[in-house]
């Protein structure tokens, strides 16, 4: 509050709000001396500074007008995204800046205090409300049979209309636990449908493959990894999966057991798979066991074999449901 701009002039008191002005103008520098007692009407006596500000605000509005015309022309001429964004920004900024300048320099800035009454109603009001409510409530209360059966009817209605929710989709069934590999004997193919011989795989990269005829199956993308000699020596198959490896080639589900993202990054020299979504890391040499990150289960493994022509086939489904966990996964 600046003491050199007393706000006790007749035109200043915001008596409508039955309040006293508490703060005045905390930016006196912006006001010219002649504005210390600003007239109540908007027709302020403009000083040089005021004239400049007014011209600036008018300039903002003018820029906005021109930018709007430019926007229309830009559209007419075929449109241009960057230009459209910039021009629209200018349109809005011109209006916004103009209004703010107008408000800051040419509108009354008296601060006023508005009383804050306690939110809570008086005891008398509460009692009056309670009495009126209970007057109705008691007529409900005195018909216990109707309250019970009427409430029951509404509850039964609520139950009955829940049933059509069932129309939204099929029963989950066993789809979550089964992939097209189930049954065994299905060839493993590339995205283009071509079968794979183990010798076609290199040790420094992984290949994403699918069950033949199901290259669009979202639950069956599979990682084929060829281990180098050192890794093959270290690789210890899980119990019961001793024959699942063919000529140093292992196959795991590509779907992360955390949230189902494809585990697409392979660090071949250390044999680690990294999921790009949440950085779960799996150790291929240890049966794709999770060694870092939020994933808690190993990637399901696919049992491999060779058919008569030397192409890779799956002898059965994955060692477990692929992808993220779910409530009845083990049931």
């Amino acid at each position: 509050m600046s003491s050199d701009s007393p706000k006790d002039g007749p035109g200043d008191a915001p008596s409508r709000l039955e309040d006293q002005p508490i703060g005045i103008d905390d930016r006196p520098a912006l006001r010219s001396p002649s504005e210390q007692h600003p007239p109540q009407t908007g027709e302020a006596v403009l000083t040089k500074r005021g004239e400049r500000t007014e011209r600036a605000a008018a300039g903002c509005f003018t820029v906005s007008i021109l930018a709007s015309l430019g926007l229309a022309v830009t559209y007419w001429e075929g449109g241009q995204p960057q230009l459209e964004g910039i021009l629209l920004a200018l349109v809005l900024a011109g209006i916004g800046t103009g209004i703010v300048l107008w408000a800051k320099h040419f509108m009354p800035e008296d601060e006023v205090a508005e009383d804050r009454k306690p939110l809570v109603s008086s005891e008398d009001d509460m009692a009056a409300y309670a009495q009126d409510f209970e007057a109705g409530e008691s007529s409900l209360r005195s018909r216990r049979l109707l309250v019970a059966t009427g409430g029951g009817a509404c509850a039964a209605l609520g139950l009955a209309v829940l049933f059509p929710i069932r129309s939204l989709g099929p029963r989950p069934g066993k789809d979550l636990k089964r992939t097209p590999y189930a049954g065994g004997g299905r060839r493993i193919v590339r995205e283009d449908g071509s079968p794979i011989r183990p010798e076609e795989l290199t040790t420094d990269a992984l290949l994403t493959v699918w069950p033949e005829d199901h290259t669009d199956a979202a639950d069956a993308p599979t990682l084929l990894i060829r281990l180098d000699e050192e890794q093959e020596r270290q690789f210890t198959p899980r119990e019961g999966r001793e024959g699942w490896t063919v000529e140093g080639v292992v196959a795991f589900s590509k779907l992360c057991t955390h949230a189902g993202c494809p585990v697409g990054l392979y660090q071949a020299e250390i044999g680690q798979l990294l999921c790009p979504c949440h950085q779960s890391t799996f150790d291929v040499i240890d049966g794709a066991r999770p060694i870092f990150g939020p994933a808690a289960r190993s990637l399901p493994q696919l049992p491999l074999a060779l058919d008569d022509e030397g192409h890779l086939i799956a002898t059965g489904d994955f060692s477990g449901p692929t992808g993220p966990g779910f409530w009845d996964r083990d049931r």
Partner: protein
């Protein structure tokens, strides 16, 4: 309320009381809630129509949400393989396919679809009856002009959204309707060709019309309707209800039942009954059997192509209109402009303007909270009845072909009859209504056109409510 007997039983322990206190300490709502509890609703059977419209809208929202889960608003072509044998192997749009699936292969789909359709029909019907009630009792007068305008807007939106809704399914009938809408849009002077092309995304049938109508039907219009209904009701609460004159009923009070608990219970009951009627209709009475119409083929049409009832007057106007077109300066005003644009524009324009027109003619600019009985206002009532009969003739004209077929008449003769009827019936109805009003008023022994007349409405008042009944103000 102090004179009412109180039976307070340790209210602090009541759950409702605790809840009320919890809310009050945060929002300070005790007085507001008490005002709501004690809000007075005057009771008259004719006040029910607006309420019915509201409940129909709720049913429309509930069933509509269910339908959106299954309907596919796409014009992509597919081959039908569903369980309705006659159409198996037929090429159709995804929109029509999903409408068939909703009807045959989605459990609870058909009943929801039909309840939705019936609710739309009754929604508009309830609005029209409500509008007639407001009109004939003079409830639109100052200070209620704003709510009258909102009401007319709601009527227009309800009609359009019903039309958009049944146009989505892309069956033969709705496709025919869309083609007529396209032609009417095209008939707009100056902007018609542009408007039609922009709305439909090109020449009919257009690439985008189904998808666009879908967004308009399920999002845009319902949102606007919801906002307008909210405003409509807020204004009613602010202005309080109108009431018929009667003992103790004055311009400066409202006499009726309290909101809590009786009126609230009645309203809830009416909501359930509305739902019951709509469910019965939707379950038992087939409506819009799109599988019979087949998928839309631009080159095909069936006779007896009638729209839903609320479009009937427009369809009738299109049929009754003589074959005039205006050509001048190298431009033309196509025939559908007159019935499809001009008539509709004048209809709704007059509706919007009526409160102001009447105030200007009568010079009555005073606020009114007591209703007129229709017979007290013979001129207004006669004009209203004549206007209604005009639209009823148009509506029946929409069935000209069906009437001709049913009664073995020539379509031309039937249409000519409707052309004459359109000119003759309204004046006749107006004159009769005027005489009837005079007669009834004379029998009542009350001169007509009196301003506010305190009269007894038979059977309306059940108890002599004191005039000092607190009108639910916070100061009460």
């Amino acid at each position: 309320m102090a004179e009412r007997p109180t039976r307070r039983r340790s209210p602090e322990r009541l759950l409702t009381h605790k809840g009320a206190r919890w809310v009050d300490e945060r929002l300070g709502t005790a007085n507001l809630a008490r005002t709501a509890l004690n809000k007075v609703f005057p009771d008259h059977w004719s006040f029910m129509a607006g309420e019915l419209a509201l409940y129909c809208f709720v049913v429309l929202l509930l069933t509509g949400v269910y339908l959106t889960f299954f309907f596919d608003p796409s014009t992509e072509m597919t081959t039908y393989t569903g369980s309705y044998a006659p159409l198996r192997g037929v090429e159709m749009t995804q929109a029509y396919r999903s409408a068939l699936d909703l009807s045959f292969d989605v459990r609870s789909g058909l009943v929801m679809r039909q309840i939705h359709h019936w609710a739309a029909l009754l929604f508009v019907a309830a609005i029209v009856v409500h509008l007639a009630r407001i009109f004939f009792t003079g409830a639109f007068r100052k200070p209620r002009e704003v709510n009258w305008i909102i009401g007319v807007l709601l009527l227009i939106l309800a009609i359009f959204n019903g039309l958009f809704g049944y146009s989505l399914l892309d069956d033969q009938l709705s496709g025919t309707g869309l083609r007529i809408i396209y032609s009417i849009t095209l008939s707009l002077p100056v902007v018609g060709t542009w408007a039609a092309s922009l709305l439909f995304g090109g020449e009919f049938p257009g690439a985008d019309i189904i998808e666009r109508l879908y967004v308009i039907h399920i999002l845009l219009v319902p949102a606007i309707i919801t906002v307008l209904i909210t405003a409509h009701l807020a204004i009613i609460v602010r202005q309080k209800h109108t009431q018929f004159p009667g003992p103790g009923r004055r311009e400066d009070n409202v006499v009726g039942e309290r909101m809590w608990p009786t009126y609230a219970a009645k309203a809830l009951g009416l909501f359930f009954l509305t739902g019951a009627v709509l469910s019965f209709l939707g379950g038992v009475f087939q409506i819009n059997p799109v599988w019979i119409y087949g998928p839309f083929e631009p080159a095909e049409v069936s006779s007896a192509s009638q729209p839903d009832w609320y479009m009937g007057w427009l369809d009738g106007a299109l049929r009754i209109m003589p074959g005039w077109e205006i050509r001048a300066f190298g431009f033309e005003i196509p025939n559908p402009f007159f019935p499809g644009v001009l008539l509709a524009g004048v209809t709704f324009g007059l509706l919007f303007a009526w409160p102001f027109l009447e105030a200007r003619v009568t010079g009555d600019r005073a606020p009114h909270h007591l209703l007129d009985r229709p017979r007290q206002r013979p001129v207004r009532t006669a004009l209203g009845a004549a206007t209604l009969s005009f639209y009823i003739v148009l509506f029946l004209g929409g069935a000209a072909d069906v009437l001709a077929l049913t009664f073995g008449l020539s379509v031309n003769a039937v249409l000519w009859t409707f052309r004459f009827a359109l000119l003759l019936v309204p004046p006749l109805v107006g004159w009769t209504t005027y005489q009837l009003c005079k007669e009834l008023s004379a029998r009542d022994g009350v001169p007509t056109a009196s301003r506010v007349r305190v009269r007894d409405i038979p059977g309306r008042l059940r108890r002599g409510t004191p005039a000092s009944e607190p009108a639910a103000g916070p100061q009460a």
